[in-house]
């Protein structure tokens, strides 16, 4: 009767497979249940631009505006600082807590310098939208090509 006492891919193999699966889940961008875009900080931010301005949008439901600060420094850095407070209900027992709360600071570097005097911030239905006007020198310029 041969009994293999050394199986190189026995329980260690199983652990390696488990490890690989966990790494896959960590790095996979498209998962059945969740969409992970690899946000680098809190809150998650979407940013887009047009010729005149850069737009920063973030979902911060339930944020009180007095708990939010926005700074523009160095021409191209935006700092979002604030706190999402947990709803206080006296005498209650929590069954489930999924909503995030706590204080946050996030610094974003913009691709072009913006005018710190021309910043507009709007908060509607829990969505914060910051519009930052680009500095004149940073706006795209169309170059006309002369043909002989």
């Amino acid at each position: 009767m041969r009994q293999s006492r050394f199986d190189p891919f026995g329980s260690l193999g199983e652990q390696l497979i488990q490890f690989r699966n966990e790494l896959n889940n960590l790095f996979s961008r498209w998962n059945e249940r969740e969409s992970w875009y690899g946000a680098a900080g809190y809150p998650a931010v979407n940013m887009w631009e047009n010729a005149d301005a850069i737009y920063i949008e973030s979902e911060l439901p339930g944020l009180e505006l007095r708990d939010l600060e926005i700074y523009v420094t160095g021409g191209n850095q935006v700092t979002l600082k604030g706190e999402r407070k947990q709803t206080a209900i006296s005498g209650c027992a929590w069954h489930r807590q999924e909503r995030e709360h706590g204080s946050f600071t996030r610094v974003l570097t913009l691709p072009v310098p913006v005018n710190p005097d021309k910043v507009d911030a709007r908060f509607e239905n829990g969505v914060l939208l910051i519009t930052l006007a680009k500095q004149e020198a940073a706006k795209p310029r169309k170059i006309s090509v002369k043909a002989d």
Binding site: S35, A40, L60, T87, G91, R96
Partner: protein
């Protein structure tokens, strides 16, 4: 420096949603807490106006559907989250008085009050000394 933690991604709703919608559908995060008189459900629905919340009670289930309008078409410099409707279903026990369910929505947060039936409220029982 204050605390910063990585964003937990938004959770996509599975195939259980009832209506077909364009774009992804997400499962909103909720807090549920209980007091002596009612259950309170608080849901994060960013981008949903109060008139876009479809909240129904049917057959012992609370169906929550928040419609979100697209806020940006086109490319992004940076995209860390996707935008889409919210949908989630909760099973409500019979101890809830479904005729008195109330809800309000402010700053993208929906608060639903589910009052308990009279019979289900906890009662202090007086102990008599004999």
């Amino acid at each position: 420096m204050s605390d910063s933690h990585p964003t937990s991604p938004k959770e996509r709703a599975g195939a259980s949603r009832r209506e077909t919608t364009r774009g992804p559908t997400f499962r909103p995060r909720v807090d549920i807490c209980e007091t002596a008189n009612e259950l309170t459900l608080i849901a994060d629905l960013p981008g949903v106006r109060p008139e876009d919340v479809d909240l129904r009670y049917e057959n012992g289930e609370l169906l929550l559907h928040g419609k979100v309008r697209s806020r940006h078409e086109g490319s992004y410099l940076m995209q860390e989250y996707d935008v889409g409707d919210f949908y989630r279903v909760f099973t409500i026990s019979e101890t809830i008085d479904s005729s008195r369910i109330e809800a309000e929505c402010k700053h993208g947060v929906l608060t639903v009050h589910l009052p308990k039936m009279e019979a289900a409220r906890p009662r202090q029982i007086q102990v008599r000394s004999s």
